[in-house]
Symmetry: C2
């Protein structure tokens, strides 16, 4: 089993590449759910959905989120009815949230609801929410506490961040299968996701970090930092706030207790030379995934490197 | 104030006609809510919505329900996700149900939520749900109890009906304004709606029938029976089940304790002669509303007759 830890958009891209290489039933993705949000009364799991849509081949490549070819007629009507629309849900996308919310209200867990949706989308890989319990990324700003979507989408991450915490994480349990698949993985791959707000919540669920420290599987991370700053989003800013440099060294530091291998962009090759002075394997590749070929090549490079390291680690 | 008691489609047509004649703030519609249904986790009020859309000028004239020019992309995706789709909600229509459900969850009453939606749709007339309490039309059939939408939409009213009852009606209270507007009306008009399942639930809310019996306003009903049978839907069948003839005489019987005037279709003129032997005023008009002109003419005829009778009654 190849196990991927992932947030939304960057993770979805790498997983699309991996899905071309790994038999679908041998691929498990553990996904951040701390930016889940109740929107229009519906339970929206943005990262889980990006992974589902990526694996179903229906993720919008233009937007990087939501379904390709989606329309926003309901949203436009919601605006006319005076409802908030800064968080955009397409007409096709809405069906996912309506169906998930109904499954949850009928008593299903988030992982069971996710499995049901995955099945309906013809996905044979395993998409596991990190936890069935509610964990919420909260961002402390000078003007108050925001949930992640308020910070990221509504404020376009243009507000000062004083602290980030994961409400509910201390009492959360890993979803069924999460610890087992880490323990028995052939390789664990960290998608190029934000170490603070995408991977951070996963690692904050008690037991997951320990499982990563104890697995015999090689652990490889693909850096979300390119050329000394985040490829997209506020990773750099948030890493600095955590006291980590906003460079590939910061990524290494975020995962230092279990990481075997870091794949960094060619643009960071000089930073890579410094990192290599420690025990960490640092490999350079093109990590900018614009085309399907980019995704496949980075996935192949990462998978190959991780599986080669497998012999060395055990 | 002109007060209309109404179900969905037939009522919406007559109200569209009345809205051209009566200053909008002088028109109040009391609407059946006993076919409200929770669908995809949302609170849908089909009759209220038909009235709102009619008054906002956006009711689909092709379908007779929902918004004109609506699309069904979310619904098609719901089908792909294995969700039930026999009750059809369009993409624009969905916004109404999402907004209403949110308003209700935030603690608003159904009448407050309806007023908020009406305001957003630019409607100045008053659309009052019959009650803020849940009343549900239940239809007993040989194969079990169905809610109204299961009977009407899913089974296309092609199943045998053993009984109809209005669950919760005995404990329901009229929504704020309902009794007052009946008491102080210039005229009360019953839309050509099903006397059993559209008007029946309104009359089953304790206090409303009494208010109709005591108001000094003339009460005129437009018959939903044309040429000895229902213009559309199962009114005839359901009236027979109640022990009423499925003719204009049955309509008169349904409302016998308060009705002053019955407007029947020209096709029923010979039945009308028999009815006239009692105290009821029976007037003939074209009650088939195909065009906007049909709606306006029937509305004008009904309103004129009712207002003329006002002097006689008081």
């Amino acid at each position: 089993m190849i196990v991927v830890l992932s947030g939304g958009s960057g993770g979805a891209k790498l997983v699309q590449g991996l899905a071309c290489l790994v038999p679908s039933e041998n691929l498990t993705v553990i996904v951040n759910t701390a930016d889940d949000v109740e929107w229009w009364g519906l339970h929206v799991s943005p990262d889980v959905d990006s992974l589902l849509y990526a694996l179903a081949g229906i993720l919008s490549t233009d937007r990087g989120w939501g379904l390709q070819g989606d329309t926003f007629r309901c949203l436009e009507r919601m605006a006319a009815l005076g409802q908030p629309t800064w968080f955009r849900l397409g007409d096709l996308d809405l069906a996912t949230h309506l169906a998930r919310t109904n499954l949850l209200r009928s008593g299903k867990t988030l992982s069971a609801a996710t499995a049901a949706l995955a099945h309906r989308m013809g996905i044979h890989s395993h998409v596991l929410p990190m936890s069935d319990n509610r964990v919420a990324t909260l961002v402390e700003t000078p003007s108050g506490t925001l949930n992640f979507q308020e910070y990221f989408v509504r404020e376009r991450h243009q507000v000062e961040v004083r602290a980030v915490h994961f409400e509910g994480a201390d009492k959360a349990k890993p979803a069924p299968g999460v610890l087992d698949c880490i323990a028995s993985a052939e390789a664990v791959i960290f998608a190029p996701s934000n170490p603070v707000t995408s991977i951070g919540p996963i690692l904050a669920v008690p037991g997951i970090r320990e499982a990563l420290c104890h697995t015999s599987a090689p652990i490889a991370a693909v850096s979300p930092i390119i050329g000394g700053d985040a490829f997209s989003g506020p990773a750099g800013t948030l890493m600095k706030r955590k006291g980590w440099p906003s460079t590939i060294a910061g990524v290494a530091q975020a995962y230092e207790d279990f990481l075997d291998m870091l794949i960094v962009d060619l643009a960071d090759h000089s930073d890579a030379d410094h990192l290599r002075e420690g025990a960490l394997h640092v490999l350079c590749a093109n990590t900018v995934m614009k085309s399907m070929q980019d995704k496949q090549e980075l996935a192949r490079f990462t998978l190959h490197a991780a599986l080669q390291a497998r012999g060395n680690k055990s």
